[in-house]
Symmetry: C7
Subunit: 76 residues, 7 copies
């Protein structure tokens, strides 16, 4: 993530798989399709993950409201 | 969801059935009629769903306040 | 609720009985008199309802602060 | 409460006794002296009420911060 | 408190001892020195009070962040 | 703290040791280096304090996010 | 941290390792790459730390949403 501003880092992650942690402790992995300044996110091929990183539920396409986000991290 | 910005994804889901998860852990399924930048949503033919996806309560038409939304996902 | 924007749906419900669910899990039924962009609501002939939809308490006229609202649904 | 906008209803209640419910579950009864768009309220002759509507504590004049308000209802 | 707008009531209390209740259930008594539109307050000769109104801790001068405030009431 | 507006009080405390209480109940003592209108604070020589005022942890320089602040009080 | 305004302190920490504490009590250590006025942060070589400062989980690059931040402190 080569970034001058935090949103540049999200921009660099567009089209790549990211791990998103939510305030309700849930983790969602998906391909980052879109984001905005509120950190609203759209993920594709999204899956909910359990604590061990295993898939818990298929979500497919999903819109995540920005104020629920704790962190976004590119998967390697 | 073909989207440059997150709200484009909501726009693409207009008229389709979506699953909405709320901060109070409730899930509501309904046809997306309208939304705005606060993610206030109007759903038609809405039903509250339990954890297994079964209908728990008929809601009919419903206005959901945006700040209660966790995620919105098109049903396939 | 024929609506392009979510507030249009509230406008269409003006003068009709609606069911309002609050973040503190309470439910209030009343005739929708007024609303604004914060979803502040004024209800008339309002009653608090229990989980089974029975009247728990008469409220009469009531102003509800928008940030307490979870959902607003027209009663059929 | 004859109101086109929610704040009109508060304006109509100026000088009258209202019951205010707060997010911390407390209820305060008092004469509505002033309010603003944040729903900050000033009550006079205010009293804290218990669940049965009995006076629990005299407050006298009191400024209530708007973001604590759940509902405001005129006493009949 | 002779007030058209809620902040007028705070202005009238300037230089007088007020009781402030906070969202964390603490009560602070002090002489109101300054306030702003966020209800940020500066109190002098401030003391934390217990439920019975007894002094629990001397605070001296204190800046209170507005979003912590539940109510402000002049002491008589 | 000789202040017309609350931020004047913080300005007067610049360069002096202050006690900061956070919403997570933690207390941090440090020399106030900088603040802004959100009450974001920068403290130097900061220490976390326990309930009795004893040092619990050295923090050194620290940026505190404004929305975590309950109160700021100059140490005497 | 030589700072007139709090964000100057964050700017001075760019490119250095910082310890970040989150509202969910988690601690993340990483090299500060970017920040903005919301205190959204991008960290590189980030690691989640346990209470004793030991590494609990490798995070790599990570975007942290500003409203989750409690404090940011340069590691020495």
């Amino acid at each position: 993530m080569d970034a001058e501003r935090p949103l540049d880092a999200l921009n660099a992650a567009r089209g790549k798989r990211v791990l998103v942690e939510l305030k309700n402790k849930r983790r969602v992995s998906g391909v980052l399709k879109a984001f905005d300044i509120h950190i609203n996110l759209v993920l594709e091929q999204a899956e909910e993950r359990d604590e061990n990183g295993e898939m818990a539920r298929k979500l497919g396409d999903v819109f995540l409201r920005g104020d629920m986000i704790v962190l976004v991290s590119p998967s390697e």
